[in-house]
């Protein structure tokens, strides 16, 4: 039997990271993820780990770059404006193929924006906010329990593929408390790290960690290598949840905390005799095209719901590929979609397709 606790989302991520063998955390304060830092500051010294408050997000991600270069499991966390500052380091670490985990507890933007929950960093996370042809694996938990499980998975995936993995949450998930069941023991997968710059001990050639390859022909070969890796991940790591999809008239597409609100709408619709389903992407990159494929014939239409102006919407449309209409409803700036918002849109779509 594991341990059952009532915990805040931000704290659960920190605890999960420690359980996954992460002993290095570098970060800079920003709302609404600060409890994660506070937890690390308290807990890391107790487990012989390193907690360091950096002078900026830019420095924090570069400290991550340094620690990851030595082969250590390392975490940084921030919220939207801070994640923008990390983009340089994210691109470099992607070029150098360093494994690390980055948490973004999204808030409303653009600019300093607000501090309330948002999902408007989807493009930045999945399409690459930094320069160059790269991807991170992007995981989208929708409960505190899943924050725990996906944080552990994030470290394993990062090491397995030598890739950055991002936990993309929002202010609701970071701030809310829910029951979490911790496993007695984590399955920490270990992968070859003979590439690490951790001192050659006069036993091997020197290792170099770099993202620069001045010769374009050489750089192209590296890029071809990255793309092969991304292809492999796209084939093997798509994750999604299907909920109530059998004979649904309209299938909602939503991730993270918004998917939970959609489940509320599905209940409400059922009470009115309307059959709604939900596909909840758990990996945002790779986007679960396979999940869409599985249900493509079922509904009359898809309805994407986001706390943004419609970012994931583009990936849904690419996956649906014109075979069914794809609609959108969302709120922005830290406003949270309500069951009513969703139901209003559902009624509008029903009308159009009756």
């Amino acid at each position: 039997m594991g341990e059952k606790l009532l915990m805040k989302g931000n704290e659960v991520i920190a605890e999960a990271a420690i359980r996954a063998g992460c002993r290095h955390y570098f970060g800079y304060p920003i709302t609404p993820q600060t409890e994660l830092m506070h937890y690390m500051a308290k807990k890391m010294p107790k487990v012989g780990g390193v907690f360091l408050q950096a002078e900026s997000e830019v420095s924090a991600i570069n400290m991550v770059y340094g620690a990851a270069s030595t082969g250590k499991r390392v975490l940084t966390s921030s919220s939207s404006p801070g994640i923008s500052l990390k983009q340089e380091g994210i691109s470099y670490a992607s070029g150098a193929q360093l494994p690390a985990v980055i948490v973004n507890i999204m808030r409303g933007g653009p600019g300093l924006g607000g501090i309330q929950p948002s999902q408007s960093d989807y493009f930045q996370a999945t399409k690459g906010g930094g320069h160059g042809d790269y991807h991170m694996i992007v995981l989208a938990p929708s409960s505190v329990q899943e924050l725990y499980e996906l944080t552990v998975d994030a470290f394993n995936l990062a090491d397995k593929y030598r890739i950055l993995t991002m936990i993309l949450g929002d202010g609701i998930l970071g701030q809310m408390m829910e029951v979490v069941n911790f496993r007695d023991e984590e399955k920490i997968e270990t992968y070859d790290k003979s590439w690490a710059a951790n001192g050659h001990k006069n036993e091997r050639e020197h290792n170099t960690i770099t993202s620069i390859h001045i010769d374009p022909a050489v750089l192209e070969q590296w890029n071809i290598g990255y793309q092969k890796k991304y292809q492999l991940i796209t084939e093997s790591e798509q994750r999604y949840e299907l909920y109530n999809c059998d004979d649904a008239e309209i299938i909602l597409v939503a991730y993270g905390s918004v998917a939970r609100i959609c489940k509320g709408a599905i209940k409400e619709a059922a009470a009115q005799g309307i059959k709604l389903g939900l596909i909840r992407p758990i990996t945002l990159w790779p986007f679960p095209v396979k999940g869409i494929e599985k249900i493509i014939d079922i509904p009359k239409a898809f309805l994407t719901v986001e706390m943004s102006s419609g970012q994931m919407l583009e990936d849904v449309r690419l996956a649906v590929d014109g075979r069914k209409p794809v609609y959108f409803t969302g709120r922005m700036g830290g406003m949270i979609p309500t069951v009513k918002n969703i139901m209003d849109k559902v009624m509008e779509i029903k009308e159009r397709h009756s």
Binding site: E55, S59, M63, Y65, A68, T70, V74, A197, T210, I212
Partner: protein, 248 residues
Amino acid sequence: MAVVFRPPHALCDVPMHYCPGCTHGIAHRLVAEAIDELGIEGSTVGVSPVGCAYNNYLYFNCDMVQAAHGRAPAVATGIKRSLPDHAVFTYQGDGDLAAIGTAEIVHAAARGENITVIFINNTIYGMTSGQMAPTTLLGQVTTTTPLGRDPKVNGYPIRVCEMLATLQGPVYIERVSLHDIKHIRKAKEAVKKAFKVQLAGKGFSLVEILSTCPTNWGLTPIEALKRIENEMIPHYPLGVFAGADLEV
């Protein structure tokens, strides 16, 4: 047959890309000799900058990590906190350390991060072809100050050693020069001392090395060495700015 001269083991036997007359080669050699003499090549991780020395990860025989522009002290911090029993050094130019990387160097120094920083000051951006650096002297002509650096427009050159020495974190800061044999020897001692300070667990050490850039200065290698002596040292005086009485 007695061997009287050999390249340091900590330098790889590969051609370097530096221009003729550039003192980067000498600075690399001093770092490598210090690593050899201290016997730490297997337990050292170096951090390469962005600038002319961007690919010196190919030249040093210890494990090397290439960093983004100016971020080397943050990267080195991440490495050192992961490998506290290893020697960690950064090798940075004046654009990297004193312009885009100002926050990183100041805070690494303020934390007393137990790393060694080798800081190359040649008063110019070499890699991107001769632009003004934060260390460019007043009146100095560069590609972005074609009429000479004007303090009304561009402000004043930064004295990094003096600035960092105001902090409590650093334990050893010295400025040296490579303009003649005598000074190269002194520079060697300073570099080695900086590593010894780190190995003794004392804290942050930085050696600023006054260097040449004949290509972008438009001078011959010999004229360039003279410029260090006649123009740079008057503005950047040599000496120990922190840890003068430090014994290691």
